[in-house]
Structure formats: C-alpha cells, structure tokens
C-alpha cells in the first residue's frame, strides 16, 4: 500500500504540494526542532492518517473469559489503516520517517459502535540525502519526542517503526455459587489471573511479531494500555505499543551526563 496514495482525500493533494515546495508544518517544539536538526534531519510536514471503523459486535459468554477475536481484529485493522495512511502521506513528501506519532481513538455521538482512529506525526528527512527508510522501504514511524530521537541516535540505535499489538478480552462474570464459595476470604482467583495474563501476553507477542518483521533489535518505551472503550466494564482492550529499534552502530556518542545544581528558585 506504500505507493498507492489513491485513498487519501483530495484536500491532502494541495496541502502536500505546498509542503513539497519547502514550507513545512510541524507540531515539534522549538527544542525538538533543534535537536532533530542536530542529528541531521529536517522536518517536512505534519502528516496524518485517519480511519472511521465500525468495530461491530461479538457475542460473549456470560461466565467465560475469552478473547473476542473479531473486536481484536477490528481494533488492530483500524489503527493499521490510520498508520498506513499517515505513512502514505509521509512517503508522498519523500520523508525518511515520522517522529512524535500519536495514536488516538475518538468516539462520536453520530456513530454507535463506530470509532475514528487517528495517527498524527511529523515527517522528517535526512539532510545528507541517504535514505533512512526501514527494511520494508517505508518511512520509519516512532512515537519518540525530538529529545528521545536525538538521545536514541547518540546511543547507536535507530527507530524502525511504531509497533503495536492488541487483544480484546472478555472477563467472565462470577456466578453466585462461586462468589459465595469464597465469600469472606481474600484469596487468589487463578482463572482470572490466568485469563488476564494470557490477554496481555497475546498483545505483547503480537507487538513483538511486528518488530520481528522489521528485523528490529528491540523495542523501547513499551506501554501497556487498558481501555474498556464503550463495551462495558467486562470487556477490556489490552494495547501494547512501543518503538522498534535497530542497532545501527557500535559507536555511542552520548556524553556522560553533567551533574548540575540549578540556581533557579
């Protein structure tokens, strides 16, 4: 899908054309801008991708903890679509990568069960003209700030892509018998432990699979998020997100941090 930009809206055309002429927009702070310039990159423009997705419904068994695979797929595909569209915008600008990516999910009143998935970031390009795209020939993506991007490059690592894994899980309701059976005791509930454990491990494994596809050395800044969205408290999405990195050089050019005493009040 990387070179096929036919599904981007028309308005994108003019905005990107202007950006191609040299004007750039970015949501980087001044400090972030300077640090990105310092490691030899130039911001090209703010890029985004969006997808409004009907997440559908899936029947759940009242007393059984299980993965809701249809919802998992929906949540995954919707984010993937938003990310891919953002990458397409970046590719059209000739970018090497996108930094500071934010992934958001919005729900609107007009669409029950529909959600808008948005990915926004700043496209950057290497000033030396050497391509820094990832193994798949696409611009790398990352949720790193300008400061983090600079620090990472100093350690000899380079971002390859924002990777994610998700798992939507239904947690069983407890029957009256079960509740009464252990009433008045604080004890471990092995089935619940096991079910939730499994759900998070699945999300993380899926994230790692994405990193492996990029030939990454590792993933930094992993976040595990848990949200019930609009499904009620017993259905939870476990989302795992991080930036896949590859070791590009053994040279660590990061200075030892200086010890300072701030004289500010």
């Amino acid at each position: 899908m990387s070179n096929d930009t036919s599904d981007l809206p028309q308005a994108t055309g003019r905005r990107l054309e202007e950006l191609e002429k040299g004007l750039f927009t970015s949501d980087l702070s001044v400090n972030e801008f300077l640090l990105i310039k310092e490691v030899g990159f130039h911001p090209l423009g703010l890029v985004m991708g969006s997808s409004i997705y009907h997440t559908g419904i899936q029947t759940r068994k009242w007393s059984q903890s299980q993965e809701l695979t249809k919802l998992t797929e929906a949540m995954y595909n919707a984010r993937e679509l938003a990310m891919t569209r953002m990458e397409e915008e970046a590719a059209q600008l000739g970018a090497d990568g996108v930094v500071g990516v934010r992934l958001d999910v919005n729900y609107y009143e007009w669409g029950k069960d529909a959600a808008e998935f948005i990915a926004v970031g700043t496209a950057v390009k290497a000033e030396d003209g050497v391509s820094r795209r990832n193994k798949l020939g696409k611009p790398f993506t990352s949720d790193l700030s300008g400061q983090d991007f600079w620090t990472l490059v100093q350690t000899g690592y380079f971002p390859q892509g924002l990777v994610m894994g998700t798992c939507v899980y239904h947690i069983a309701h407890r029957g009256l018998g079960q509740t009464l059976g252990s009433a008045g005791q604080n004890v471990e509930l092995p089935n619940f432990t096991q079910a939730l454990y499994e759900a998070r491990e699945l999300a993380m494994t899926r994230m790692q699979d994405e990193a492996t596809a990029l030939d990454a050395t590792g993933i930094v800044g992993v976040r595990l998020e848990e949200k019930s969205h609009q499904w009620g408290s017993h259905t939870i999405e476990f989302l795992s997100l991080g930036t896949a990195v590859v070791k590009a050089s053994d040279v660590v050019s990061l200075d030892r941090p200086l010890t300072i005493v701030s004289l500010d009040n």
Binding site: T151, N186, E188, F192, T212, T217, G218, I219, V261
Partner: protein
C-alpha cells in the same frame, strides 16, 4: 513460586523465545542502561488476581459494644466513653486494630505477582529487573483486586546469572548514581499496614465537628484515636519493611497512606511503603563537582 495457579501462560513461551528485546524503559533510561553496561533482554511481568473484601474483625456486630476479645494478633487499642451514657446512638466503645488478614492477603497477592515477574525474567536469562512498576487496582466490578508488576529484565554480558534475579524500582540516571555511590540493587521492598478504626463517641463528635457538650470543647483539639491509628499504621509498615532487609539498607523509600471510610466512624487506614533494598559493594565514588546553572527563560 509454589502455589501459582498453573503454568505461566502459553503466549509467553513464544514471546520470550524471540531474539529481540522488549523494554518498558524510556529512551533516556535505555541510554543510561547501556551506559551501565546492562543489556535489556525483555519486559518481564507478573500478575495475581485476588478476590477482595474489606470485612472487619468479628463483623460489624462487635462494633461499639465492648472491647472485642478475640484478637488476630498485632496492634489493638480500646477507647472507652467518658460520659457513662448508654444509648443506641452513643458509641460507648471504640477500637483501633491491625487487620493482619488484610496485610497477609495483600502480601500474598503482591509476592505472587512479584515471583512470577522474576520467573519470566529468569526464563529470559536475565540477571536483574530494573525500572519496576507496580499497580494494584480493582478489576471491573467483580470485587477482585489485581496485582500487576512489570519491569525491564537486563543482563550483564559475560557474567554468570545469579540464582535469583535482583530487582529495583530504579532506572535511568537514578540507578546510575546509586551504583556510582557504591550500592548494588538487591530487591524491591514493598510492605503494607492496615489499621481499622471503629470510632467511639468522642472521636465521632470531633470528626463530625459536633464537639459541643459531650465533646467537652469547641477549641481545636487533637483526635487521639485517629492520630494513634495513623502513627501505628506508619510504624507497622516501617517495621514490616525492615524485616525484608536482612541487614541491607533501604533507599528511595516512600510511604503513601490511604484513608477509606466505610460508614460514619468506620474507617481503614492503609499505609504502603515502597523502596529499594541495596547492598554496598564498593567505596563511594566521589561525585563530579556539580556545575551551577541558571535558566534564562
């Protein structure tokens, strides 16, 4: 790990057999980790879901009648009404007592999740776990508390792994500074103390701001029963943390206190202490002389 429910989940097997590492470290912490010569090998985590209720000693019947005799061990303190008055609304007796069963259950949940995290770390061939984060939270509306611990498993290239991985809440420059100061992390320390307060008449009047005739004063006065409970919870949690040190030192400790009111005059004071057990392994390296800075913005 003893009484864990079953084996670690199936999905884990594939995750840890992959060659790449996953880390919960921020980029700055990652850089500091490399500076120390530590190699991240993966994100290790452990969970434990526990049925949870905050039932009191002897049920609610025992409250306000007479000192409850059948203790569960630990701290108990009784308060008697000074007015010599008996009525359904007047609490003639009050009591503070340590809820050892809550503390034991908490510790069981926490240490199960902790040992599962260490087990994952061990399966990854790690020497230690840095940047540990723990969360204890309610799971939907089930009356279940879930303990969740996670951290980044690291190894020291070329060294042999210790029998049990060490662990610490620290990461990044704070960990670097601790090691420069000559301390090596041994384990995280977490302890909880739970004191239940059954207020007697005086405490109820003072807490309700109705310290008129029966309270004997309208000036601000100390509420002795609450103060005693607050102090004792902190004392218990500190001594319980001390038993986990085995001669090592505790650094970066923090105590958080949670006060919950179940109904008027019935509260729980819970103190939670977190810290890092550290052991001296070399003399203190002199810290570089700090440079003074002034921000111009």
């Amino acid at each position: 790990m003893g009484d864990r429910p079953a084996d670690l989940p199936e999905a884990l097997g594939r995750r840890i057999s992959d060659g790449s590492f996953t880390s919960g470290l921020s980029v700055a912490e990652f850089a500091a980790c490399l500076e120390l010569g530590l190699e991240p090998v993966g994100l290790a985590q452990g969970f434990c879901a526990m049925q949870w209720s905050t039932y009191a000693m002897g049920g609610a019947f025992a409250r306000g009648i007479a000192p409850y005799g059948g203790g569960q061990g630990g701290y108990v303190e009784n308060y008697q009404c000074p007015h010599g008055m008996v009525s359904g609304e007047h609490r003639a007796w009050g009591q503070n007592y340590q809820q050892t069963w809550i503390e034991d259950a908490w510790l069981k949940g926490f240490s199960s999740a902790y040992s599962r995290m260490l087990e994952e770390a061990q399966a990854l061939g790690a020497h230690g776990v840095i940047g540990v984060v723990d969360t204890v939270g309610h799971l939907s509306d089930l009356g279940i508390i879930e303990f969740h611990l996670r951290g980044t498993a690291v190894s020291v290239p070329g060294a042999t792994a210790p029998p049990t991985p060490w662990s610490t809440y620290l990461a990044g420059q704070r960990l670097v500074k601790v090691i420069e100061a000559g301390f090596a992390p041994v384990a995280i320390v977490a302890a909880v103390a739970s004191v239940r307060v059954w207020a007697y008449c005086m405490t109820e009047y003072l807490m309700g701001g109705t310290a008129g005739f029966f309270g004997g004063a309208s000036d601000p006065v100390e509420i002795a029963q609450i103060v005693a409970a607050q102090l004792t919870a902190r004392e218990i949690v500190r001594s319980s943390a001390r038993t986990q040190l085995h001669g090592d030192s505790l650094h970066g400790a923090s105590v958080s206190v949670l006060e919950r009111e179940f109904e008027k005059g019935d509260l729980e004071i819970q103190a939670l202490l977190r810290g890092n057990r550290l052991r001296r392994f070399k003399e203190f390296d002199a810290l570089a002389v700090p440079r003074a800075t002034v921000r111009l913005s």
